[in-house]
Subunit: 408 residues, 2 copies
């Protein structure tokens, strides 16, 4: 008997019929003798509807209240999913974040999970129940409702799998696994049977959007075995995310091409090269709870520093304001420039470590396509470039072809 | 400085504009220097939408899950109301039933409040906040979400007013006070400036629908000063519900005519007159958490007993099943009959105590109208009759006129 955590996203629980399909799937696993914990998102559209209501009420809604409002979406789905299970003879109980309880820090709208009280879950599983948990939410130590930010139900699922030492954490989505790149852009993009955590982390954080970055980090940290599956495909194996490179069946140089259109770039230009300036720039950004992705620093020809970082485009205005108000004068910078019409593209693959020349091949392909590279950043298993957004699709297609990713 | 609890029902918070109007009203009281606690219902239509979803999922939804789903409606409104207040410069915080916390018994869908932890509320009020509380809900001692049943937000408001020793509990509705009867049926029905608790209790339980019975009981028990007001009328005084008869300005014989179309009658007929049979009949009904309203017992001509009680029509089927399964054979009854096409009409007035002849006048008026009375039941301050539902409107009009209730 295994303990399996199954997470279903918004499109998988979009209406009564789909929730019934989820219940049927859970029943199958339950009948096979497994203990099952289900984590659900809000019905698709609900979270946006609730955010819309809050924004109609107050332009930039106060975060504590916004969280209290938005968290109800998952609570409704959890209750409905429990009802669907009870209705087909499977004992089930739903829980909200405050009932489990999922303790988080106080960072409303992007809280981090600190602790999960697994006692109630354990008792219910032992009593034969399927436990259905509202994703995306928790409470801080004062009992204020918090949410984990977009896609946070994945994080809930992984955190619960870690706390309960589950045998597998299955993430059901509207895609049947992780692809070499987005099939909407490259027709012969190929599903990967497995991918390493490190690669997945790069793929997710770079915008493959199948899994939320934090959930993958969490899974890696607590050695939770993750599997991405389609909730619309009864027999698919999905993509398994492995801990070890040698568990990986395929071992290509490049696993996939990730990209992100939602990124925006902030450049702080022409400041003297004094130790601590990076901290002086990014400290106030972090204090405002803005997530920073790429960070690049160059010393320009004049000897003055240029510092560039990327944020989600919704945080661009606020980031520029913070830098102008709190940083610019202090570090004596010449100008602060923001650009949201950019996109990030990354080649990802553990095989890169032992293969030289990937970067130069990538740059040549882009050059042949006459696509200008704005910024470059690399790590051991990825090469990321910032491009003008309008060139993104062409760049993805050209690279997918050049690296022959359509072939297994 | 007074402490005022203000409760706003579903139509008063139906959309963004109305919630903003609620916030403006609260601001006015706050600026007058009062401490304000706001209790809100779900936006009108929301509770029914959520119940509909649950029923689509499972014909008769499991009550624990139903409560968890339905309670989200008020949580959303509470958050939105807090945002509306913050947006106009009034510091505010919302609370769900589990945060306050409002401890109830375990009777899902019709729970009773046992205790309210007023500490958090007191701290917030002292810090200058308006406290906005999601009505209609609580948690049991295990942290399961419970709801108080339809109209339960009134009960929440009164319970909080009692726990906090508030100076006044204002119930805002879509009517501007308590009327001598329903103005939709009798055009010249008149708003009462005051009414006693006892009268109000009879009016509410008999279906005037302005306030939930339990909230009036609670208010009477804890001496909470209640006022019913319209949320659409900025200057109305509404109707105040007084503790003492001598506080009452008017003292007519009859205060009003209440009625209830939702009642159904269960008759258990022809059983031997043995002590304990009333308990044997009503015990299993109470165990099933079905509320019983009228109870009438007659010894028939044959010496066999007839026992009649009324329940909400939604509980009729279940009541008949319970009596047939658990009671009929045990007490050796001849037959069990149910009827939902009935209505109850009551004359209510504390003045009745000292005025003989009210009942006979009432029966004469109905007789003149050729309306047959099925059942009669009386108390010190009311006379109730069960009629065929189709005669109800005529009966109300004839009695309103005969007792001259349109005159102050």
């Amino acid at each position: 008997m295994s303990l399996i955590v199954q997470k279903f996203g918004g499109t998988s629980v979009a209406n009564v019929d789909r929730i019934n399909a989820v219940a049927d799937r859970v029943k199958k696993f339950k009948k096979d003798g497994h203990h099952i914990i289900v984590v659900v998102s809000a019905m698709s559209g609900e979270t946006n509807k609730l955010i819309g209501l809050a924004e109609d009420m107050m332009g930039a809604p106060e975060p504590r209240e916004l969280d209290a409002i938005v968290a109800t979406g998952e609570q409704v789905t959890a209750g409905l999913t429990a009802l669907a299970l009870i209705n087909i003879g499977i004992p089930a109980k739903s829980y909200s974040g405050h009932q489990i309880k999922i303790l988080t820090d106080k960072a409303h709208t992007k809280a981090r999970i600190l602790k999960i009280d697994e006692k109630a879950i354990r008792q219910d599983l032992d009593a034969g129940n399927v436990v259905v948990i509202a994703g995306f939410q928790g409470v801080d130590e004062l009992g204020n409702v918090t949410t984990l930010g977009r896609g946070g139900s994945d994080t809930t699922a992984v955190a619960i799998a870690a706390a309960m030492k589950a045998d597998e954490c299955q993430i059901y989505t509207d895609v049947d696994g992780i692809y070499t790149t987005d099939p909407r852009i490259v027709k012969d993009a190929r599903r990967l049977k497995s991918i390493t955590f490190e690669e997945m982390l790069e793929m997710a954080s770079l915008g493959s959007k199948v899994l939320q970055t934090r959930s993958v980090e969490f899974a890696g940290k607590y050695k939770v075995k993750l599997r991405v599956l389609s909730s619309f495909d009864a027999y698919g194996e999905g993509t398994i995310i492995t801990f070890e490179e040698d568990e990986k069946m395929e071992n290509p140089i490049i696993s996939g091409i990730a990209f992100n259109r939602d990124e925006a770039e902030v450049s702080v230009r022409g400041f003297p090269d004094i130790p601590g300036s990076a901290y002086q720039i990014l400290g106030p950004i972090a204090d405002a709870n803005i997530d920073v992705d790429m960070i690049i620093q160059n010393v320009g020809v004049s000897g003055a520093n240029d510092f560039t970082f990327t944020v989600h485009e919704r945080d661009l205005q606020k980031s520029i304001e913070i830098i102008n108000d709190k940083v610019k004068a202090k570090i004596n910078a010449r100008e602060v420039i923001g650009d949201s019409k950019i996109a990030k593209l990354s080649l990802v693959g553990v095989g890169m470590r032992s293969h030289a020349g990937i970067a130069s091949k990538m740059f040549k392909v882009l050059s042949d396509e006459k696509i200008n590279i704005i910024t470059i950043s690399t790590s051991e298993i990825k090469i990321s470039v910032i491009l003008e957004e309008k060139f993104l699709d062409d760049a993805v297609r050209a690279l997918h072809k050049a690296f022959e990713l359509e072939k297994a």
